[in-house]
Every structure is written in structure tokens, then in C-alpha cells.
């Protein structure tokens, strides 16, 4: 009798997981049908001409580029060099050393001939003590703040306090930007006369590409499967997920690695939250909240073209640490703003975006975990028929690989930067294998992150960087 019951439960769970995965796949297909036409429409656009006038335009709002850095001695100099070579009429670069234990500050001070300056700092937000400030003798628009350790959000808040311009861009200390990236990211803000209050660009993985003098010279794939899988994953997340959501004005994430924000709106929203590891998403949710509560028409947009290059984790340990942190951040943000969930007052954000991030982005790990368990245990103990196991496995494979293939298509339409056809075959091949090794790993780590969500204090996350520039 018990066996019959268990069989029923297992079969019921299997059906639930299949239904869930089908709905999720359908949502992604819908997002693809929203994002795809936009990318197709702009795919032949001459990007150089598109921003040419803007670089000479006196109305490009000045921007403060904030680079929070914690133990980034390996990459910080090339990141700063990349920022200094940005093609933008007026900007300042503010590196915030968040109490690094390595030589992050020393590298910046030595390399750019920084001298100490006195500070008349504003306090939009309270932060940990800023001990010293420096200005470069070589580049008067380069500054360094040395502060006590308080986490990335605290470092960004200190940067906002110090910054002088009406817009700021938050860039990770290990990233580099394409020369026109800031112009392209600011373009919607300028064209809309400030109606667009924040924009985010695409983050791409630099491992494998040739980067000289802080510029990507040749795009190529990494030889490490774990990195190739992340490349595919990023295409899918940015070109399908974010673009689709942005088109509906319900985008909830602008990557912490690269985004531009209207300072006033961020100040109104209260700045970065120092009590979460997902400070980038949490800020966007609060900004949406503040926009909706003010009944303002301002928008938050994602633009596919400007690219920020970053170093992806290349070891299982660092990838695991990153994914656990992301999952925790997502859980914390959704918990903090649970009142927005299914709340019609927040329109698309409350009715679609928040539920999407809860059920699709956060809880998918749990559903997929159940799926894997049901398949394995069901087959071992013969609770599940081979047909159901096959259907579930098929859904899992298709869920990952078809969408990944579509994302590769969008990548080719957007950037077409891979210099050979071989790279496309490699991407397709690894996309097909996703369900067999990469996804189960991620599912496990994300479940770990879910468990840890409310138990650990925030930190910067550790990743042994090799540096992406030569």
C-alpha cells in the first residue's frame, strides 16, 4: 500500500516538475520573441555612426565612474586604464578601495602618481570612515578613496557621496569597458532627456579573448568548458532575459559590473543597501518602487550593445562561491520587497517581474533538484516509468540547449565578434551538453545558496583573479 502511495507522490511530483519546466521554457520563448525582433531590427546598425555625434555633443551629461575595489591588486590598474581611455566628453573616475588587505591602493597610487587631497565630502548616506583621498597628477579626473572595509555597497555609497556629477556608473574593479560603452549606455538617457533613469549594458566574459592595453583586441572562446558554459549562460541571461524584460519596462537587475544611474533617483531611493549581497538588484527594485510610488514615467533600460568585459570564475570553487552569493542576494531582495509581490500597485513589476524572479530565477533550482531526484530515485526504485523519466529528461535538455542556441543566434546578430565559424560549433556543442553536467552543478550550488540565504553576513566573495589584461 505504501509503495502505491509513494509511487503516486513521485509521479505527481514528476508531472508538476514537467509542467513547471514547460511553463518556464514558454516564458523564455516569449521573452525571446520580444527580444529577438529588437536585436534583428538593430543588427545592421552602424554603431560607430550611431554614437559619433554624441562624443562631441555638449549635452552628454557628465558621469562619475565608480570603481569599488577590494583586494583587486591584479586587475585594478588595467580596469582604471580602461576607464581613462573611455570615449566620453566629461567624466571622472573614482576608485574606492574598501579596506583591501593587498596592494590595491599602492598599485593605483604608484601607477597614476596620486597625491593626497583634502576632502569636503557630502553625506548622502552614512558609510564607513573614508580615511584618505587622492587625485592623480597625470589625470586630474582620476581619484582614489581609501576607506575602512564595509562591503561593496558601502564602497559604492562612499563613491556617490564623493562624486560630483549628476550620473554615476558603477563598474566592478576587475572589469574593462569597450571605449564607446559609456556613450552608448548614456545615449538613451540623453535622448530621453532624463526619462530613462538608469541603464545597464551587457556583461561579457573575457577569459580566452586577447586583451592588450586594457582593450579587447580579439574575441575568442576560452578552452575551459566551465567558462564556455558561463559565456552561453550570460548570452541567455542578457540577450533574452534582460532585453525581454527591459522592453516591457520591468527589468529588475542592472548588473553590478556595469550600469549607469541618475544620482538623484538613487539618493531618493536611499542608496545601496549594505545589508544584502545582492545590492545591485535590491537597488533597482527600490528605484522601481520609488518611481511607481511617485507615479513618475521614468524608465530603467537595458541596452544590448555596450559591453563590459569581466573575468569569469574558472575554477569550480570560485564559481560555486559566486552562484551561492547570487542566489542569496536574489532571495534577500525578494524577501525585503515581498510586499511588492502580486501587488497591482506596482503594475508589471509586482504582477510579473517579481513573481518571475521568485518562481523562475530563484525557485527553479528547487524544482530542478526535485526533477533530478525524481528521475534518479524513480528509476532506481522503479517508481517512475521510463516514459516519464524520458519526458522529464527531454524537457530538461531542451529547456537548456534550445534556449542557449537561440541566445547564440542573438549574439551573432548583435555583436558577430567571433572571428570564425568554429567558435559557433563549439558554443552549440557545449550548449547541448549543459543538462548533463553544468546545470546539475548549478542547481546544487543554488540550493545551497537558498539555504544560506538568511544565515551569513555579507562579504565581497572570493575569487582568485588571474587578471584579464596583458
Amino acid at each position: 500500500m505504501n509503495e502505491v502511495w509513494i509511487e503516486w507522490i513521485v509521479q505527481g511530483m514528476a508531472v508538476l516538475v514537467i509542467a513547471y519546466m514547460t511553463v518556464v521554457a514558454l516564458i523564455y520563448i516569449i521573452l525571446f520573441t520580444i527580444a529577438g525582433p529588437q536585436i534583428r531590427k538593430e543588427r545592421q546598425l552602424n554603431q560607430k555612426e550611431h554614437v559619433e555625434g554624441l562624443s562631441l555633443n555638449k549635452d552628454t551629461f557628465p558621469v562619475s565612474v565608480l570603481v569599488p575595489a577590494y583586494n583587486e591588486e591584479v586587475g585594478v590598474v588595467s580596469t582604471v586604464r580602461s576607464m581613462l581611455s573611455l570615449n566620453y566628453p566629461q567624466f571622472e573616475v573614482v576608485v574606492i578601495d574598501d579596506g583591501s588587505k593587498d596592494a590595491t591602493s599602492k598599485k593605483v597610487i604608484d601607477q597614476f602618481e596620486m597625491v593626497e587631497i583634502e576632502l569636503a565630502i557630502r553625506k548622502y548616506f552614512p558609510t564607513k570612515q573614508v580615511n584618505k583621498a587622492f587625485q592623480s597628477k597625470l589625470y586630474p579626473h582620476l581619484f582614489l578613496l581609501v576607506k575602512e572595509n564595509g562591503g561593496k555597497a558601502d564602497a559604492l555609497n562612499a563613491g556617490i557621496n564623493f562624486s560630483r556629477y549628476p550620473y554615476f556608473s558603477a563598474i566592478d574593479g576587475d572589469s574593462i569597458l569597450d571605449r564607446d560603452a559609456l556613450l552608448k549606455t548614456m545615449k538613451p538617457i540623453i535622448d530621453s532627456n532624463g526619462q530613462v533613469t538608469a541603464t545597464g549594458g551587457t556583461v561579457r566574459i573575457a577569459n580566452g579573448s586577447t586583451i592588450t592595453r586594457s582593450e579587447v583586441e580579439k574575441v575568442a572562446l576560452s578552452r575551459q568548458p566551465i567558462v564556455v558554459m558561463q559565456i552561453i549562460e550570460y548570452f541567455r541571461a542578457f540577450l533574452i532575459g534582460r532585453l525581454g524584460l527591459s522592453r516591457m519596462n520591468i527589468l529588475l537587475i542592472i548588473s553590478g559590473a556595469f550600469g549607469v544611474f541618475e544620482k538623484n533617483r538613487v539618493i531618493k531611493a536611499g542608496g545601496y543597501n549594505t545589508n544584502t549581497v545582492g545590492e545591485d538588484m535590491e537597488l533597482i527594485v527600490r528605484m522601481h518602487r520609488s518611481i511607481k510610488e511617485e507615479k513618475s514615467n521614468q524608465r530603467i533600460e537595458y541596452i544590448q550593445d555596450p559591453v563590459c568585459w569581466t573575468e569569469a570564475p574558472s575554477t569550480l570553487a570560485s564559481l560555486r562561491s559566486q552562484r551561492k552569493r547570487w542566489q542569496r542576494g536574489l532571495a534577500e531582495t525578494l524577501w525585503t520587497h515581498k510586499k511588492m509581490l502580486f501587488n497591482p500597485k506596482y503594475r508589471g513589476i509586482g504582477m510579473f517581474s517579481m513573481p518571475y524572479y521568485l518562481f523562475v530565477e530563484l525557485l527553479s533550482a528547487m524544482f530542478e533538484m526535485i526533477g533530478y531526484i525524481v528521475i534518479i530515485l524513480g528509476l532506481v526504485f522503479s517508481f517512475v516509468s521510463i516514459e516519464i523519466a524520458a519526458v522529464m529528461f527531454l524537457v530538461t535538455v531542451m529547456y537548456g540547449s534550445l534556449l542557449s542556441s537561440l541566445a547564440v543566434l542573438l549574439e551573432e546578430w548583435t555583436y558577430h565578434k567571433y572571428p570564425d565559424v568554429y567558435s559557433l560549433v563549439v558554443l552549440f556543442f557545449w550548449a547541448l551538453t549543459e543538462a548533463f553536467w553544468y546545470r546539475p552543478m548549478l542547481v546544487w550550488w543554488r540550493c545551497e545558496g537558498l539555504v544560506l540565504a538568511f544565515t551569513k553576513k555579507s562579504d565581497w566573495g572570493n575569487m582568485n583573479r588571474k587578471g584579464i589584461s596583458t
Binding site: 550611431h50 587631497i117 535622448d191 542556441s405
Partner: protein, 347 residues
């Protein structure tokens, strides 16, 4: 059941396979095209530049393939136009573009995809293809969305100094201040004669256009607009007043210096900030005490502008030193110290 599942799997796998084949074919074609274009470009560049600069009279032979020819010419002319100085060179670019590209762009504007139309408009502006002025004007009437295509169409017409454009612009509510200013910079001063007269009266001109024009006046450096700007300084609209103050900072002049003093005590911090900035730019040392007072303003930006202005005055560094050491307000002392140690830090 198993059979159905396998069929579905096969169908989905086929879709992916077809997608891969499609991508491989288009990628291969794209790479081939880029290869052919690069080869043609590098083989022709030296001779063609000689022709464009007037060193050679005979035009070098262009690639046979229409697509390659278009791509090569666009690259050549774009690159050359970035560094073009002489009238002869400009005329050569225009002539070559009119001869080889005008019909292609006319067709593109008529039947091309969105990105092809926008690219065509970019090049029409860059190569000053005046023969397409009427085509672009009629293209404007087809625009439904206020997107990049619409804005670029306006830019082309402004750069061609189309006389109908101002009349069209004063009816446009959807354009931003930035776009208006961008267009104004492309137009000749004569285009604004009627507008200045209209703006002095009660009017129905879009607010964004009015703000844009007041801001543009300072940027243009045309002192003929100075009386108009000084009148706007006393307008009831705060944004107009601020834009006028910003323009005066760019003119680096204001005939009514007494009025600057009045603004030091304005209830709006932006007016206090611009007044301090203007006093510094005009080196009005008689307002030194007012500026020292503003150095302890409640708003950071006003304190910043006041200390920056003090620094610009004759003996400003000494007064700044004095303020840093003895000002009764700690915020003013901090700001004076920062201003002393910090260089003007812009890119």
C-alpha cells in the same frame, strides 16, 4: 508514449541543427564578405585618397560587386571625412557620394529595413549629399515613432540648413531639450531670427524648445543674443532663469552686475550656485565677502561654486587659504581646503 517523446526530441533537435546550419552559412558568408571588402579596401585606399585630396584627377576603378563597392566607399569616405579640411576635399567627398551612393540611399530610404535606413541617413549627413534633401524631407513625413530614425532625419535636414525645419520644430512636443540643442547647433544663426521675436512674446512654443534655445544661446557665443538672455534672467519660469544664468556663464559676461548680487540670496540654491560661478568667471572681486558667505551655504554645490569662484579672483588662492584656516563655518573650511588641494578634475 516513448515513440512520441522520441519524435518530439527529434523535431526539437532538428530545429537546433537547422539553427546551427543557418548560423554557419551566414557566418561564413559574412566572413567572406568582410574578407573581400577588406582586400578591396586596402588595395584601393592609397589611390583613392590621392583622388579625394586632389593629387590625382582620375577616379580609381572601384570594385565590380555593388555591395563591396558600397561598403568600401562608405569606409573610405567616412574615414576621410573625419579628417577633411579643405573645401576641395569636401566637394570631392560629396561628388563621389552623389555619383555612386545617392541612388542606393534613395532606394534604402524607400524600401530598406530600419537599420539600413538609419545608416543611409548617417552617411547622407556625413557626406553632405544635398541632392537627397527633398527625399529626406519627404521621409520626415513618414516618421511615426520618435526614435533614432526620426532624430537622424531631423539632424540631416538641420545640417542641410533646410528653411522649413524651424517652422516644423516649433510644433514638436515630443523632442527633448538635448535633441533640440543638437539641431540648433547645426542650423545657421539666421534660422533663429523669427524664433527670438516669438520667444519675447506670449507663445505656444514647446517648453523644451524654449529651454533648449536659451541654453544654446550661451554655447553659440553669439553676443547678439545677450540682451535676450539677460531679459530671460528675470522670467517667471525658474528653468528659463537657470538656463539663462548658465548661458551667461558661457558668455562670461553680464551687463547687470547688481543683479548677480541679488541672486546670492535667492531662495533657489541653483541660482545662488550659478551667481557664485558667474562672479568667479567675471572675477568680480568686489563680491569676495559675499562669496565667503556663500562658502558656508547649506548646499554643498553652492559651497563648491563659491570656493571655486574665490579661487578664480585676483589673489584668490590667498583668500582660499585664509578661508581654510579661519572661516567660522567648518563646512566652508573643509570646502576651501578641498579646493586648495584639488586640481580642476575633468576629463
Amino acid at each position: 508514449m516513448v515513440g512520441t517523446v522520441l519524435w518530439v526530441a527529434a523535431a526539437l533537435f532538428s530545429i537546433q541543427l537547422m539553427l546551427l546550419v543557418y548560423l554557419l552559412i551566414t557566418k561564413k558568408r559574412q566572413l567572406n564578405f568582410e574578407g573581400r571588402t577588406n582586400k578591396a579596401y586596402h588595395s584601393i585606399i592609397a589611390d583613392y585618397l590621392a583622388f579625394l585630396t586632389g593629387e590625382a584627377e582620375k577616379e580609381p576603378e572601384l570594385p565590380k560587386s555593388q555591395r563591396v563597392k558600397q561598403e568600401v566607399l562608405e569606409r573610405l569616405l567616412s574615414r576621410f571625412s573625419e579628417n577633411t579640411i579643405t573645401v576641395l576635399e569636401k566637394n570631392r567627398i560629396q561628388l563621389v557620394a552623389e555619383t555612386h551612393l545617392a541612388n542606393i540611399y534613395r532606394m534604402r530610404l524607400e524600401k530598406g529595413a530600419w537599420s539600413e535606413r538609419v545608416n543611409a541617413l548617417y552617411f547622407i549627413e556625413d557626406f553632405r549629399m544635398l541632392s537627397l534633401k527633398e527625399t529626406v524631407w519627404s521621409h520626415l513625413s513618414k516618421q511615426e515613432a520618435a526614435d533614432e530614425e526620426y532624430r537622424q532625419t531631423l539632424r540631416v535636414l538641420a545640417s542641410f540648413h533646410d528653411e522649413r525645419l524651424m517652422e516644423y520644430l516649433v510644433k514638436q512636443e515630443a523632442l527633448s531639450i538635448g535633441v533640440f540643442k543638437e539641431l540648433f547647433r547645426l542650423l545657421p544663426f539666421e534660422a533663429f531670427n523669427d524664433l527670438v521675436v516669438e520667444l519675447e512674446k506670449e507663445n505656444t512654443i514647446p517648453i523644451a524648445l524654449q529651454e533648449a534655445f536659451i541654453a544654446y544661446c550661451g554655447e553659440s557665443g553669439n553676443y547678439g543674443y545677450l540682451p535676450f538672455i539677460e531679459r530671460k534672467l528675470k522670467d517667471s519660469n525658474k528653468e528659463f532663469r537657470l538656463k539663462a544664468l548658465r548661458s551667461l556663464c558661457l558668455f562670461q559676461y553680464c551687463s547687470d552686475q547688481e543683479y548677480i548680487k541679488i541672486l546670492f540670496t535667492s531662495e533657489h540654491w541653483e541660482e545662488r550656485m550659478y551667481a557664485a560661478r558667474l562672479a568667479g568667471i567675471m572675477r568680480l572681486s568686489e563680491y569676495r565677502d559675499d562669496l565667503l558667505k556663500l562658502a558656508s551655504d547649506t548646499v554643498w554645490w553652492v559651497r563648491f561654486a563659491a570656493c571655486e569662484a574665490i579661487k578664480k579672483l585676483p589673489d584668490g588662492e590667498i583668500f582660499l587659504e585664509f578661508a581654510a584656516a579661519t572661516h567660522e563655518d567648518p563646512y566652508a573650511r573643509d570646502m576651501a581646503k578641498q579646493m586648495k588641494t584639488m586640481k580642476a578634475g575633468v576629463s
